[in-house]
């Protein structure tokens, strides 16, 4: 478990980093927190000619609110997010999700940009990005572009970002007061990637539901937005019957794969169970 030889660069600016990526013509890898990339290198599953380390670019780590969005520099550590008062106030779902990401030492190094760019379908942040209709900003040789969550995740460990693009910012719409949220997850052990997780956000409006947002982790090759289940709630309100119906619908909307930890059937079953639990808890949170 020793990596193949590679060049190592630690640029001090984004432009320098972009130039390096261009120089290696798709053969370089970006190093963020290294929590996913280092194992891949050690297993020789990833064999880049060079690493471009973003850890020396201080301008890439920040959390700020702008235009109703909370914006994160790609290199913001998960641990920063866990303890950010801004996130606690304006994006409580992300805060809750963060506690499910690995263990403390991993969150101390791991970044929001790395987690999303890595596109592990069992990871929590991609599910939250998908549920909340978030977007990322990518910078490449041709300048910056904004990519919507639904256009970002292609399949397992694959995004629509180009090899010479750097994910520089993650944007999530801030949550209005009065909304309820929950992330329900089932993992084999504390800190493991999700077998299935459901990120839920509901905005109740009296007996009605103004908006519902649901997305999965672990239930397929990409995070799945459960729009048809959301629609049941937006139509019928947040009654027990509507929640049960939405949970049942959620299970039909996913096409999970089997692996040694869970069969497709079990994952589908969990999708329904966790959707129901997440919605019930989100509703309780909304009602304070």
């Amino acid at each position: 478990m020793k990596p193949v030889k590679f060049d190592y660069h630690a640029p001090a600016s984004l432009d320098e980093a972009l130039a390096l990526l261009r120089r290696y013509g798709g053969d370089a890898k970006i190093l963020a927190g290294g929590q996913s990339l280092m194992p891949l290198l050690n297993f020789r599953l990833s064999r880049p000619a060079a690493l471009v380390d973003l850890n020396r670019i201080p301008s890439l780590a920040y959390i700020e609110e702008h235009d109703g969005q909370v914006r994160f520099g790609a290199m913001t550590r998960q641990r920063m997010i866990e303890f950010s008062p801004l996130v606690a106030r304006r994006l409580p779902l992300l805060r809750e999700a963060t506690k499910w990401v690995g263990h403390l030492p991993i969150r101390t190094r791991g970044t929001i940009g790395g987690s999303i760019a890595h596109a592990d379908p069992s990871a929590e942040y991609p599910a939250v990005l998908t549920a909340l209709d978030g977007e990322v900003v990518a910078r490449g040789p041709k300048g910056e572009r904004v990519v919507k969550a639904k256009d970002l995740f292609v399949t397992y460990l694959t995004t629509s970002l180009e090899p010479d693009e750097i994910l520089v910012e993650v944007r999530l719409p801030a949550t209005d007061a009065g909304a309820g949220f929950a992330l329900e997850e089932f993992a084999r052990r504390h800190g493991d990637f999700a077998i299935v997780a459901i990120a839920a956000l509901v905005v109740p409006d009296g007996a009605r539901c103004r908006a519902a947002r649901l997305a999965t982790a672990g239930a397929g090759p990409v995070p799945v937005r459960l729009r048809a289940a959301e629609q049941i709630l937006e139509r019928d309100g947040l009654t027990d019957a509507a929640i049960d119906a939405a949970a049942g619908r959620a299970a039909e909307l996913v096409s999970p794969d089997s692996d040694i930890h869970a069969s497709a059937d079990y994952r589908r079953h969990l999708t329904a169970v966790l959707t129901r639990r997440a919605l019930r808890r989100a509703l309780r949170v909304a009602h304070g």
Binding site: V4, K5, R188, R189, H190, I260
Partner: protein
């Protein structure tokens, strides 16, 4: 206060906790080379050709050696046994002719760094001709199956049976027979430190030194001497600090043979440090058994008979020196458990497949036998409408029946089977837990209580060989205790500690028996050049056998020290006491001599010693407990199952154990808790999975799941202390027990929790996916247990 029994803090912990431990990977020698092994990507394939030239050309690479080349340096391992129905297998240090499991070493690259060596591995061109993969024992036993070892003539490497009475008659006549097919899947004994070894050949004196992360330096020395054609005294094997063994480091491995051969071949020290992937691919694995078992009981719950057929997947090789019989034969040895079982038949098959070899793992056989028997006992209780504790109490062997010869021939010299169950029942607050369970059920929560009783044989002496006619003796150990002229004491052993705290417990024994101060006693082990002949640490033997030898040697020294002191003080030895490092005249405490003064005299020679006394203050004694002694416990687990997510949470865990006279209660408790952690892991999480083509799917700790603190309950440990009547010191082994009872207790608790769903649990680990499939199965009203 006596030292034996005192809760002394472990003296080795300061070293380990501050990062001062020294493991094989910490050692480096001048001119040392690193070796990386090229491992077979196929589970079963002929080796057509190997082209190592491009690898040898890489700068920094010294050599690339193949199986045929190393064969001139070392013989293949062959684990012999005279057991009828056993076929040994040959295991070369590097594969020759064919590979038998994915991960088997095919070539070795020696380079200046491990990085370069791994780069070179990619340049070795091996052409394989794939063979049909023998994936399961069923496939292996089917007509026309490919043979893993052509020379064995069969994939069935061993068969064995233990029979007592007329079990078929007992089944016919019984009021109730419960039975099922049980399955305990393959398990890996994950140690914190991966395997590692370093060999150094000294051509001047013709001596080879091997440092290895092993439990058995003595066994390694004997085995390697034969394979390398070296006299035993030209080999030194050292186990420095070792980060866990659990049985996995108790076999001789091909890598150990290979580094020795490579060091001799190149004339340079050669080091191999397994990475986690190699360790999961190639270290011995455990269990993987299918057990068809039936229990016959009378209407009042009295057990009449037990019948079982056990088929084990022993993997690709019969390991040295334990053989492929080590696990499965112990299953049939211990299936009757601590119960009165009049009629018994246990049959075992060990079947070769294209997987990593099967070996001993903490508990060996007994975690599986206890799972099966305890599950059957619970089912019988349910069918008879009896409480499971009551049914056990009716059948447990009582103190007045001891010694008791079990139907497999094991003799229980002692035991507190009834008492440990009663105490566990009380410690758990059994009635209270049952009432809670009722309340929880009414609230839609599924709580279960599981009981498991077991007895095991520990400190096994020479009467019971590792296998019939085994080439090694495992029944004895020695201790050399030396008081130096400084008055400090060195106690050396052939044992090899890998986490058990011997530096503390054996020092307690020596200090008390000799009369030395604890801080003056240093324990040395794990080095064949530093201690008496011995084998190592495994099978819960060190406290019993090593402790016995320590007692004998320390007592001999005490007597000599007293004789010297009596001579110098001109009193009778009977008038002296020796304790806390000082011999004192009874009634005159100011008159006495320190151990240092006595030792000074001992080495000063004839001038100061009684007439005719040999100088020196050192003694070596050996001990053989002959049969060994029974250690027992009851475990009670309380779990909660979420029938929707199929999650299992272990809420409570109670252990009431009897390891005889306790040397150090802190260490006994630590052993019990650590064992329970591994047992809970076995019950819920840990499983080695191979694909149909023989590829290992659990090749990292992301996929092979060991429990973390978050998955474990606080373990409540209660000690019973009935000294062994048959061993010196009264000690009984305690290293493995935690792992023996826990899987069964957790399994029974899960089954108990799921009773409202009318189902039984017969497969471990009880993963959420398995529970999901169980719970999704259409419910039948007829009981599945009716034979």
């Amino acid at each position: 206060m006596p030292l034996i029994g005192a809760p002394v803090r472990r003296v080795e912990d300061a070293r380990f906790l501050t990062g001062q431990g020294r493991y094989v990977a910490d050692l480096t020698l001048p001119r040392m080379l690193h070796v990386a092994f090229l491992r077979s990507p196929h589970a079963h394939a002929g080796i057509v050709s190997i082209d190592a030239h491009p690898a040898r050309e890489l700068p920094g690479v010294l050599a690339c050696i193949t199986g045929d080349e190393i064969a001139t340096q070392a013989r293949p391992m062959r684990a012999e046994s005279r057991m009828a129905g056993y076929h040994p297998t040959e295991c070369p240090p590097l594969a020759r002719g064919k590979v038998r499991f994915a991960g088997e070493a095919v070539a070795a690259v020696l380079a200046e760094s491990r990085y370069t060596a791994e780069d070179a591995l990619e340049l070795v061109d091996v052409r394989y001709a794939t063979l049909p993969v023998v994936g399961t024992p069923e496939a292996a036993m089917a007509g026309g199956a490919a043979l893993v070892h052509e020379a064995a003539g069969s994939n069935v490497l061993l068969t064995r049976a233990f029979v007592q009475g007329d079990v078929d008659g007992a089944m016919r006549d019984a009021a109730l027979v419960v039975g099922d097919r049980f399955r305990f899947h393959r398990h890996a004994g994950v140690t914190i430190e991966n395997r590692a070894c370093l060999a150094d050949w000294n051509p001047g004196v013709g001596e080879l030194t091997l440092w290895s992360s092993t439990q058995v330096p003595g066994l390694l020395r004997e085995g390697l001497a034969a394979l390398l054609d070296l006299p035993v005294h030209r080999l030194r094997v050292v186990a420095p600090d070792v980060g866990g063994g659990f049985g996995v480091k108790s076999a001789l491995y091909p890598e150990e043979v290979a580094v020795c051969a490579l060091a001799r071949l190149t004339g340079r020290p050669v080091q191999w440090v397994a990475d986690r992937r190699e360790d999961l691919l190639t270290s011995t694995q455990a269990w993987d058994e299918t057990i068809d078992a039936e229990l016959a009981v009378n209407a009042d719950g009295t057990i009449r008979g037990l019948r079982a057929r056990v088929v084990a997947d022993v993997g690709a090789y019969s390991i040295h020196p334990w053989t492929a019989a080590i696990e499965v034969v112990q299953v049939i040895s211990f299936l009757p458990g601590p119960y009165r079982v009049e009629h018994y038949r246990g049959e075992a098959w060990g079947v070769a497949t294209n997987k990593a070899p099967m070996g001993p793992y903490r508990g060996v056989g007994r975690p599986v036998s206890t799972f099966v028997t305890e599950a059957l006992v619970d089912r019988a209780a349910r069918r008879l409408g009896m409480d499971p504790v009551a049914l056990r109490l009716r059948n447990l062997i009582r103190p007045d029946e001891l010694p008791y010869r079990s139907p497999s021939g094991v003799v229980w010299d002692s035991g507190s089977f009834v008492e440990s169950l009663e105490r566990a029942r009380d410690a758990a607050g059994y009635e209270h837990v049952r009432a809670e369970q009722e309340r929880a059920r009414r609230a839609g929560r599924y709580v279960g209580v599981g009981v498991a009783c077991y007895v095991e044989l520990t400190g096994v002496g020479s009467a019971i060989p590792a296998s019939p006619g085994a080439a090694i003796s495992t029944g004895t150990e020695g201790a050399t205790v030396r008081v130096d002229p400084g008055g400090t004491v060195t106690a050396s052993f052939g044992l090899a500690c890998h986490g058990q705290g011997h530096e503390t417990t054996l020092a307690q024994v020596v200090a008390e028996e000799l009369g030395a101060r604890l801080e003056d006693v240093r324990v040395v082990s794990g080095d064949t050049a530093a201690g008496p002949v011995g084998t190592g640490t495994y099978a819960s033997r060190s406290a019993v056998i090593g402790g016995g030898a320590a007692i004998l040697a320390a007592r001999a020294l005490r007597e000599k020290a007293l004789a010297i002191a009596a001579h110098l003080l001109e009193v009778s030895a009977d008038d002296l006491t020796l304790g806390d490092g000082r011999a004192t005249v009874r009634g005159t405490p100011h008159r006495g001599l320190t151990l240092r003064e006595i030792a000074g005299a001992a080495y000063a020679g004839a001038k100061r010693l009684p007439k005719g006394m040999e100088p020196g203050l050192e003694a070596t004694r050996f001990y053989d407990p002959y049969f060994g002694t029974a250690s027992n416990a009851t475990h009670i687990a309380v779990v909660e199952v979420d029938p929707e997510t199929c999650a299992v949470i272990v809420r409570r865990f109670v252990v009431v154990e009897d390891c005889g006279r306790i040397i150090n209660p802190l260490i006994v408790e630590g052993q019990a808790i650590g064992g329970v952690a591994q047992g809970v892991g076995a019950a819920l999480l840990e499983e080695v999975v191979y694909a149909d083509d023989g590829q290992l799917l659990t090749g990292s700790l992301m996929d092979y799941l060991v429990p973390t603190a978050a998955e474990l309950p606080a373990v409540e440990v209660v000690h019973l202390e009935h000294p062994s009547p048959t061993t010196l010191g009264g000690f009984k082994g305690v290293g493995e027990g935690g792992t023996i009872g826990a899987p069964a207790a957790v399994a029974n608790a899960i089954a108990d929790a799921l009773q409202p769903f009318g189902m039984e649990l017969s497969e471990l680990p009880a993963t959420p996916d398995r529970l999901f499939r169980l719970l999704s199965r259409p419910r039948t009203t007829s009981s599945p247990e009716t034979p």
